[in-house]
């Protein structure tokens, strides 16, 4: 299972990449693997104001649907429209297939997230 150093990880299996005031969010390799072939992705609207824990979309395979929650509060500034036509990109490269970009409103929320080592341990414990 692939992990990338320097990203933040959530218990709901999302990864977060922080660049200045902005965060890019996607689902982890572990998440795409347990879902299987992704067939559909539902995205939020740009400018949606979100609180941490809000639903930002759905990733679906043939036999399962998984809600995606934002681990951070903030305003949606971009969504990855390409996933609508090529949902399989999430299986191929989950860390390149970002879902949304957020303008972070509460930077301290990052402290609740895990490092890649912590996340690796978390998965071991879960599985």
């Amino acid at each position: 299972m692939k992990l990338i150093e320097g990203l933040y990880y959530s218990k709901d299996h999302e990864w977060v990449k922080v660049e200045g005031e902005y965060a890019t969010i996607g689902i982890t390799d572990y998440a795409q693997d347990s879902l299987g072939d992704v067939v559909y992705v539902e995205l939020p609207d740009i400018d949606d104001e979100l609180d941490a824990g809000d639903e930002i979309g759905i990733v679906e395979s043939v036999k399962a649907a998984s809600d995606i929650y934002t681990p951070l509060s903030g305003k949606v500034v971009a969504v990855n429209e390409e996933l609508v036509d090529t949902p399989e990109a999430i299986n191929k490269d989950p860390y390149a297939s970002w879902i949304i970009k957020l303008e972070i409103s509460q930077v301290e929320e990052l402290e609740k997230l895990m490092t890649s080592q912590e996340y690796e341990a978390f998965i071991k414990q879960e599985g």
């Binding site: 072939d37 067939v39 559909y40 679906e60 395979s61 043939v62 949902p87 399989e88």
Partner: protein, 479 residues
Amino acid sequence: MTYSRLIFEVSKEGRVGYSLPALDVPIEDIPTSIKRSKDAELPQVSEVDLIRHYTNLSQKNYAVDLGIYPLGSCTMKYNPKINEDMASLAGFAHIHPLQPEETVQGAMELLYKMERLLCEITGMSAYTLQPAAGAQGEAVGLMIIKAYHDSKKDFKRNRIIVPDTAHGTNPATASMVGYKVTEVKSDKEGNVDLEALSQALADDVAALMLTNPSTLGLFESNIKEIADMVHKAGALLYYDGANANAILGITRPGDMGFDVMHLNLHKTFSTPHGGGGPGSGPVGVVKELEDFLPKPVIKKEGDSYSFDYNRPKSIGKVKSFYGNFAVIVKAYSYILTMGAQGLRRVSEIAVLNANYMMKSLLDHYELPYDRTCMHEFVLSKLKDNPNNINTKQIAKRLLDFRLHPPTTYFPLIVSEAMMIEPTETESLESLNTYIDALIRIAKEAIQAPELIKEAPHTTSVKLLDEVKAARKPIVKWTK
């Protein structure tokens, strides 16, 4: 070559498959402003083409009339033919639901009598036959529960409890009716965990929805305690009748303490599933809840029957008219045929058949809850599984033996679940055929795993690409 054409591909300009009498009235102009701009491109086929097309299609289906169909919780029993004949009598098939009541007294009498029969069989006080299926029955049941709490000005009850073994419909219905759902876990015996239940019960709980026997095929032996706990908390107890085939003439939901319930006539009472419908999901209630039943209600005075629409506390209506009448006729004929003794026999043999199959498979498959089962049982993975054969592969391999697989991957709390419900209409020989196939597959899993992984081999199409179907849905024919 297997038949593979679509009806649109059979079509040829200029062919017709129907005939109507010549128009015997003057022609009345149809204004262009209201007309459709182009004709609907429906097929053009002769009657011969049509019959061959659909007969060919029918031969690509597996069906109860071809062999055992042991889908757990679906009760795929044999569908008696006399019932079909009765439902298609002209006096039933060709009556309009809004005809004057004096012209449909026979139909109304049948509905009335059916309600009384179901009351006796389940220990409820009154029934509505309106719901078109189990899921709609559940919705009616929960609407009644909501109306009951509202009538007591008890507006804070916004939660429904379901066990983790519940059918997916239970939570889906609860949320459709506006409730939040709380799941309680099962204990290691497969019963509802009483501790967890007691923690979940509070003054915001409207009802507990329970299937008994549960989807593990096990009878909830603490049912009386559960009923007491639920009632003490001011909530009601809902019976999901999906598994009623285990208890006919043996025990009754009404006696167990349930307040509202639905039955599936297409499971327990032998009406055919039709490839996914129509069904019928009557709802029974205790005396206290009668006023909330959907309208109309049938009344009997002397020898005459009437519809009563004046029901101020009724939840309203969920289905046009009086339910799936033709389905009800079939179930009515079935109950007459079986009688009290026959219905009890149904459950006895359904339970015996299930236990026989369960014990016969123990050497080869894991049984996560090792108890005497009721009408169905749930197996988990293969005991000896060096090649990691999963349940889906076993299911597909069964197709090669011209057998229908069990319900798979349900209930969710059992990994690799296979839920098997043979029903009472399967003979010992038929059960043995199925057992032999499952044992043979267990052996193949060790000796010839590729045979299983590549299955099915003998069906009209091989493993279908569901991912492709979902990514770029093609849901209609285009030229």
